[in-house]
């Protein structure tokens, strides 16, 4: 098993390396940091431009492979490079991951709980009103792009705020910078800013998981072992929760684990629309800002987190399903 793990780990490192290099090279070739100097008044002399760009290793006059080599060298020394404004990518990264984590934690957990609960419930009420409305509702939510949901929620919140006459729900930014007060008012403010993005994330997460859980549960409901449980004399409810749901949780929990492990990758639309300065927003900003080093860092982090997530998935399956454990 040790050998197996080592092999797998090496494969992971290779995958991440290739993915990141690819992203770096593509970004280095296709992004144009020089754009920053355009339209400046007075115009920045080309030599100055080159000096600044070279200092950040993003000068398009340096051959791309040289830049790549330089970047690799830095990377090995734990330096992810700098962005155009001179900020360190590494520092940005850790701050933003933390912001994303805060934003996504509650929404993801709520989405998981609601999704699993609604899915199991719908399966048990198969072909009845509850099943029908839950399924159609999930389909509707899945048909709404995240940015549509987020904007709709904003419109709704504005109307609500107008109706009550003061700002009940805040939906822009992570907190109110002008707020004076103690710990609790700060906490309240934070939670207030979390409401809409959390609802957005929860809805999207729950809808997908619900359909999945429903299908898994339906598969299990017709299985022989649920019938065996009933034949023992278990009541319907007990047989359903103890035997059917417990087994049907295995596939949906693996999906949930994946989304849980990737909360630090951030949520692009939710962050941009609600003004949270997390990884998702950075993702868009690095490209819009022609920030090659940032792009490479985003890719690397995403790749690493996806691999960690799929590894955690395997562990969760092994924990939940004795059939998969090493015998």
């Amino acid at each position: 098993m040790g050998k197996y793990l080592v092999r797998r780990l090496i494969n992971y490192v290779v995958l991440v390396f290739i993915a990141t290099s690819l992203a770096y090279l593509l970004a280095a070739v296709s992004l144009n940091p020089r754009e920053h100097f355009q339209g400046r008044n007075p115009p920045v002399p080309v030599t100055t431009q080159d000096r600044i760009l070279s200092a950040y290793n993003i000068n398009d006059k340096t051959p791309v492979l040289d830049r790549y080599g330089h970047w690799l060298d830095d990377l090995v020394h734990g330096n992810l490079g700098r962005d155009f404004d001179g900020g360190y990518v590494g520092a940005n990264l850790s701050r933003r991951m933390w912001v994303s984590g805060q934003l996504l934690l509650i929404g993801t957990i709520l989405g998981g709980l609601v999704g699993v609960g609604a899915g199991a419930w719908a399966a048990v009420r198969h072909k009845r009103v509850a099943d029908y409305s839950l399924t159609q509702g999930a389909f509707f939510i899945l048909s709404c792009p995240t940015f549509v949901i987020a904007i709709l929620l904003q419109v709704g919140a504005t109307r609500l705020n107008d109706a009550v006459g003061h700002r009940l729900i805040s939906f822009s930014g992570q907190s109110d910078p002008a707020l004076q007060g103690g710990f609790f008012s700060h906490l309240g403010d934070r939670l207030d800013h979390l409401i809409l993005p959390t609802i957005t994330l929860m809805l999207v997460g729950a809808a997908g998981l619900m359909l999945y859980q429903r299908a898994a549960m339906l598969d299990v409901l017709g299985s022989d072992y649920v019938r065996t449980a009933r034949a023992k004399g278990l009541r319907r409810r007990t047989a359903l929760t103890k035997h059917a749901l417990r087994t049907a949780l295995i596939p949906s929990m693996t999906i949930f684990t994946f989304s849980f492990a990737t909360i630090f990758v951030g949520a692009i639309f939710t962050e941009v629309i609600f003004g949270w300065h997390g990884m998702g927003e950075w993702f868009v900003q690095t490209i819009q800002g022609n920030d090659t080093n940032g792009v490479a860092a985003v890719t690397a982090v995403t790749a690493v987190l996806i691999l960690i997530a799929s590894f955690l998935q395997d562990i969760i399956v092994a924990l939940l399903d004795p059939r998969v454990r090493v015998g």
């Binding site: 022989d224 065996t228 023992k232 092994a318 399903d321």
Partner: protein
């Protein structure tokens, strides 16, 4: 066990002693498009306390559905009418809360799918404990102790440790035992055992039947045994109920039904079973056609289209189940009195086809060309464990030095339990590649000498295969004509030739030329298997490999396919390698038989000699485990029940691989045993063309001889 004499003296009374009374039970499933599937149409019977009733029928006969109705485990949309009274309490329409209290306590059921019937995420111990604690207020510790006792009772070795294992760590047979332990946990009054045999090997099946007997003795429960195989219940049941198309068609004591059947369907079933005690190669009684659609039943007797005795009235009126003679024996046939008076037996009612003989068979064996020769064949593969963390944990010695040959026009039966390596052997032959060790020669060509794909493809024409599952062996997306054309197209036949050949092939296997345009789904299982056989014959091969070709078919259809195979062999001088786990089928069709155990052949020889005087203890056990549809013989037969499961082929025992389960080994002295532990026995000649791989080989007759006249028994 009750003796025949006791059975006959019991008279059926409208009984207070009946624990279960089923009266005019109807079960209907609504389906898409509003048609109704009438799965059970008027079933009545009584079950006395402690009695064993066998319910026999093919799939779709309503036998399992009626039992699920008793358990209250049918889908909600099912329409159920009539009455089922358990100890005086009406079960139909009972509230689920009340029904749950009876289920598992007064009435239990053992389901037929041992592999999927246990919840995969709980230990077996926990599942038995659950069965106990639903109905009693035993403390956790007491329940656990009791669960271990129960597991011990059903024959699970090291029950204390094994209780902590998960279902997937158990073999099918062991899971079935756990199911039985759960079913008898609360001393039920009625125990329903649904079709125990389908998924299990003969040996395991014999073990399970023993456990059921134990369970019955321990609990005193009345037992309903549901099966499609008349052989299984012959020795165990007091009475037998035969069902067809949702109706009971014959009911009587076991002796009455087996020795004096009065309904042609029962007679056909008895005649269509290949019997171990038959003498030599002989045709079986085929029942033409297949069971009717329950959604679209013909008027009159549902068996009419298949019945050789059908007369006009049979098309108009469905015969009721009425007494034949004496109150206990009842049959549903318009002509039962005639059958009774004339004393017609199976042979009188169902014509048995004549079988030809191939010209090549007239030559002595040594003079015939060799169709297939296998020498020292070895196939080992790595054993991987774990799904997430995959790793190699050993080497499976699936086939470990196998020798045999098949001459032209000859059939070799290759038999053994699942896991013995017979399927691997067959696949190795079909691959036509150089084996890991040893040689394979097909029609005189050594596969070691096939150096390119072209040569291999050319040789494929001589070697074709028929698979087990007719459902899976035909591509559902291709019409039958295309299925048959595929091998010919692959080998470059021209269009015209192909079209002509398709018609010819369909005729050869008893189908119509017009069937070429239809899809496999439109055919019954038996017909699909015929298409599979036709495809195998398309290229006019010399050797056909048959992988359990009839084990997935209903009993009544099986006989027709076996007869067809025998006919084709005679007409086309084919050689067969017939792989099966069912020794009785091999008895009927094969010339020679090879018995495999853990990757090696333990006994090989001509069928008559091997069956009459099996010399390897394993062959003896296999043969003794197969039931014979003859109650008297079954009751007096001594069964050799092997201990435990097949050892893992990744870790076979030293010396003789069979010694860990060998009944002969137990009788040896320590000194004699040492030889078995140290050395793998070579094949020792036991007669002309008969040898066995046992240090202490000794012929033992385990099959009762075929009685010259079948005894007729009547209740007086």
């Amino acid at each position: 066990m009750t003796t025949a004499a006791e059975v006959r003296t019991r008279e059926p009374q409208p009984d207070e002693s009946a624990i279960l009374v089923v009266d005019d039970l109807h079960v209907t499933f609504p389906t898409l498009g509003g048609t109704k599937v009438r799965a059970v149409r008027g079933l009545s019977y009584q079950l006395r306390r402690g009695e064993a009733l066998g319910i026999v029928g093919e799939s779709g006969s309503g036998k399992s559905v009626s039992s699920l109705a008793m358990m209250g485990l049918l889908p909600r949309t099912t329409q159920i009418s009539g009455s089922i009274r358990l100890d005086g309490k009406e079960l139909i329409g009972m509230h689920d809360r009340e029904a749950s209290e009876l289920r598992g306590k007064k009435i239990s059921m053992i389901f037929q799918e041992p592999l999927s019937a246990l919840t995969p995420v709980y230990t077996v111990g926990a599942q038995v404990v659950e069965a106990l604690r639903v109905h009693t207020d035993l403390s956790k510790e007491r329940a656990q102790a009791r669960a271990v006792e129960l597991l011990d009772l059903v024959g699970i070795p090291n029950p204390r440790e094994r209780a902590k294992a998960f279902p997937h760590e158990f073999s099918g047979g062991m899971r079935q035992r756990v199911m039985i332990a759960m079913a008898i946990a609360n001393d039920p009054d009625v125990l329903i055992a649904d079709e125990q045999s389908t998924a299990l090997d003969v040996n395991i099946h014999a073990q399970i039947l023993e456990v059921l007997q134990t369970a019955r003795r321990e609990t005193g429960a009345a037992v309903i045994m549901i099966t499609h195989d008349l052989g299984v219940v012959a020795g165990l049941a007091d009475r037998v109920l035969v069902m067809y198309a949702g109706r009971p068609v014959e009911l009587g004591t076991t002796d009455e039904v087996y020795y004096a059947p009065r309904m042609p369907y029962t007679m056909g079933l008895l005649g269509s079973i290949p019997r171990l005690d038959a003498s030599g190669r002989s045709a079986l009684v085929p029942i033409e056609g297949s069971p009717p659609s329950l959604a679209n039943l013909p008027s009159g007797c549902p068996f009419r289209p298949r019945c050789p005795l059908a007369i006009d009235i049979c098309a108009e009126e469905e015969p009721p189940l009425e007494s034949v003679r004496g109150a206990s024996h009842r049959a549903a046939c318009h002509r039962k009195e005639e059958i009774e008076t004339n004393g017609w037996s199976v042979g009188d009612v169902f014509p048995v086809p004549e079988l030809g003989i191939a010209p090549v068979e007239r030559l002595p064996r040594e003079q015939r060309p060799v169709a297939l020769a296998v020498e020292g064949l070895v196939k080992h593969y790595p054993l991987m464990k774990g799904v997430v963390f995959k790793r190699r944990v050993g080497t499976v010695q699936a086939v470990d030095g196998v020798d045999f040959d098949i001459r032209e026009g000859e059939t070799l039966g290759l038999v053994g339990e699942s896991g013995c390596g017979k399927t691997t052997t067959l696949l190795q032959i079909l691959e036509l590649v150089k084996p890991q060790a040893g040689t394979i020669q097909v029609a005189g060509k050594d596969t070691n000498d096939l150096h390119n794909a072209h040569a291999r493809k050319a040789l494929r024409r001589d070697l074709q295969v028929v698979f087990q599952d007719p459902q899976a062996s035909l591509d559902p997306r291709l019409p039958v004509g295309d299925v048959l054309a595929e091998p010919m197209r692959t080998h470059g036949y021209d269009r015209k030739h192909i079209d002509a050949r398709i018609k010819e092939l369909l005729g050869l296997v008893g189908l119509e030329a017009g069937h070429a345009g239809r899809y496999p789904q439109e055919f019954s299982g038996g017909q699909r298997q015929r298409v599979g056989i036709a495809r195998a014959l398309a290229l006019e091969p010399k050797l056909v490999v048959l992988d359990e070709p009839v084990s997935a078919l209903d009993v009544s259809i099986r006989a027709g396919v076996i007869n067809l195979l025998m006919q084709l062999r005679a007409e086309l001088s084919l050689s067969y390698l017939f792989v099966a786990h069912d020794l009785s089928v091999v008895r009927v069709i094969a010339d020679r038989v090879a018995v495999m155990y853990l990757g090696r052949i333990v006994e090989i020889g001509v069928v008559d000699s091997v069956y009459a005087s099996p010399s390897h203890p394993y062959t003896q056990a296999l043969l003794s485990a197969i039931p014979i549809p003859d109650p008297d013989k079954e009751r007096t037969r001594e069964r050799i029940v092997l201990q435990g499961d097949l050892p893992s082929p990744a870790d076979p025992p030293s010396g003789c691989r069979f010694r860990t389960r060998c009944q002969r080994f137990l009788t040896l002295t320590e000194g004699e045993k040492q030889l078995c532990i140290d050395r793998y026995p070579p094949l020792i000649p036991m007669g002309p063309d008969h040898s066995a791989a046992c240090h202490y080989a000794e012929p033992v007759a385990v099959i009762p001889e075929q009685s010259k006249e079948r005894k007729r028994r009547r209740s007086t």
